[in-house]
Symmetry: C2
Subunit: 233 residues, 2 copies
Amino acid sequence: MERVPIQSGCEECPVRDDAICSVLEDGDRRHLARIGIHRDFERGQTVFAAGDESIACATLISGALKLSRCDAEGVERIVALVHPAGFLGELFANTREFDVTALTKSRLCLVPRKDFEAMLAERPALTQALLRRTLDSLGESRALIDLVGRRDARARVAGLLLALARSAASEPCGQASSFELPLTRGEMANLLGLTIETVSRQVSKLVADQIIGRSGSRGITVRDARALEDMTG
Amino acid sequence: MERVPIQSGCEECPVRDDAICSVLEDGDRRHLARIGIHRDFERGQTVFAAGDESIACATLISGALKLSRCDAEGVERIVALVHPAGFLGELFANTREFDVTALTKSRLCLVPRKDFEAMLAERPALTQALLRRTLDSLGESRALIDLVGRRDARARVAGLLLALARSAASEPCGQASSFELPLTRGEMANLLGLTIETVSRQVSKLVADQIIGRSGSRGITVRDARALEDMTG
DNA sequence: CGGCGGATTGACGAGGCTCAAAGTATGTGG
DNA sequence: CCACATACTTTGAGCCTCGTCAATCCGCCG
């Protein structure tokens, strides 16, 4: 569990133009770079645990994370995915609400919460950026409600594959034609409100219909993006 | 469609301590009171329409609203409900993303968007309050994902009834034992990702099981709140 | 090689959707 | 005041999708 100081004042950061710190002036950025650290996580590692005290905020630099919660019976419930440039942190509560787990090898930029909150108080632009990001999350969350509440299994899987293809794209607004799933079938099922078997069957059916291709159990090739989009409405 | 100026600088406002303007100092409040107006809507009236230019923000003073969107086939999809003290407004986009419709007789406090944004830029506390409210919406939205994605029909209906009982409560954190549903069966079904028939059957079953009582098709009495809570996990 | 976690595939049953009909509330016009 | 229309709700019957249970398969690692 290495803690690496942030080198070179963020100049090399791959998400420097997308993450919420992009709204800061260079001076403020340098300040954050001095107090922040980088840290790497392997697939499956817990980044934050629900119930823990919230002492740090973070921006995801690379990789992918899941946000989940366990219900009364101890069953995991994934409520959102986090992609690079995404922000993590409880802002007005002292304890964390969700478990945050790495889905792939991931790198985070961690900043002590109190320092971040201090900067929020002084820099309205930062608060606005955070608000904007939260509004985006809200939009995503509502899109997920749509997917999960109204679509059949085939459309749910199609919608998730599209979303993952988009987030795997190199440019914003594009979509990768070929990518590795960061989620197991079980995690896909969990997120979509389906079972492992149903997800597996739908993926197989999409392959049979020539809409996607498979390489290994995690590799996906989008053959007919149009068909996928049509399914999700 | 009357437009009523805000009288008496908000002193009488029933949501003055809960709405986002509660974080403002009296001077700023008076300023908003001068430029804002009150407006009443009847059940079914459109408050804002998706695609319209966003020229006003609003706080719901009384009543209830639904946020919905239509998919490609023109089918309505309710994504959230808005209760008194709730905030409405696209902040970084120029067009509205959702249809907003009154579910009951409702009163709103409307403020021109540009004035509101100007105040946001000057008053970090206001931005923070809005951020906090947005985070709450995000939490609600994730709770809805949980309800819709993982629970069976009975639990979904139970969860919605509980949520409505809470929002009908006079004190915060309490729940009304008897209230009027602001939603038709069709709207409940839409929100929960079920059909009208299934909702109707589940409500009938809850009545048969002595868990709730009915007075007319919209009146609900909670007889066994514990049982409802147990169902939703 | 065997063991293990994850993925696939099949058979079966149940829960919820579809289709259909009838019941209830509310309003409108004669 | 009643007849009628309209909108919403309730209830029933049958079917289909998806969940459950179970067996097998694949890739990976010791």
